[in-house]
């Protein structure tokens, strides 16, 4: 099984990326969409990136919201910039994991896939994208 792993933690601490070109294309799409969604309020993923912090308030703290926006953008841009790297350092690997997870949840929110029933009934192409991102996340999680 070890030979089939998509990511591997090396003895020097770096994370080796073993995605083929098709895998990196999916990663490029996911990271690129997170970068775009954070900048564009009309993007279908934008709402998923701006969920309430304190639902009992009409407006969240602007400082907390700005902090979140900055951190998500920083991670997504770092992930995008390192798309073609074979080895990732700790910060880069964490940026990949966080940005894949943001992409996964944003896809679910944008398509109303908030229950097991809705998820199992979704379009095959969408399901394929979700399953691919989940595989990436399984692989990356093993490195932490």
């Amino acid at each position: 099984m070890a030979g089939n792993r998509l990511f591997a933690r090396r003895r020097d601490g770096r994370v080796e990326v073993r995605l083929n070109e098709a895998g990196r294309t999916v990663a490029r799409e996911a990271f690129g969409r997170v970068v775009a969604a954070e900048r564009d309020p009309s993007h279908e993923w934008h709402a998923g990136l701006n969920s309430p912090i304190d639902p009992s308030e009409d407006i969240d703290s602007p400082v907390a919201a700005l902090d979140r926006q900055h951190e998500i953008s920083t991670n997504a841009e770092l992930a995008y910039m390192t798309l073609n790297e074979q080895f990732l350092n700790e910060s880069e690997a964490w940026a990949w994991l966080s940005t894949f997870q943001i992409a996964l949840r944003s896809t679910a929110v944008a398509n109303g896939l908030l229950s097991e029933e809705k998820l199992s009934a979704c379009e095959p192409e969408l399901m394929n994208f979700i399953r691919t991102i989940q595989q990436f996340l399984f692989g990356l999680a093993e490195c932490f």
Binding site: S51, P52, I53, D54, P55, S56, S61, A64, D67, R68, E71, I72, N75, W94, L97, S98, T99, F100, Q101, I102, L104, R105, T107, A108, L113, L114, S115, E116, K118, L119, I130, Q134, L137, F138, L140, A141, E142, F144
Partner: protein, 85 residues
């Protein structure tokens, strides 16, 4: 003789909510990274989220609760804060 009153504030809870797409192992990794909890505690919290739909992952003052909530959202989990009943 004067009476002294200790005014206690109800703590703020950081809540993580379940969703059908996030892998369980990712939730554990995020809890470990953000809170530094043991593997066992992270797994227990993840299972509570999975089975009960939500789990309180941290309690304390509002500023820190808000900060942890933002960190969890930045890592892609659905998280909110609420004042304890």
């Amino acid at each position: 003789m004067t009476e002294k009153f200790v005014k206690t504030e109800r703590p703020w809870n950081v809540v993580v909510w379940d969703d059908p797409v996030t892998p369980m192992s990712v939730v554990v990794v995020i809890f470990k990274r953000i809170f530094g909890y043991s593997n066992n505690k992270c797994t227990q919290l993840m299972l509570t989220v999975h089975h009960e739909g939500r789990a309180i992952v941290w309690s304390g003052n509002r500023e820190r609760a808000e900060s942890y909530c933002v960190k969890l959202q930045v890592a892609g989990l659905q998280s909110t804060i609420e004042k304890e009943d």
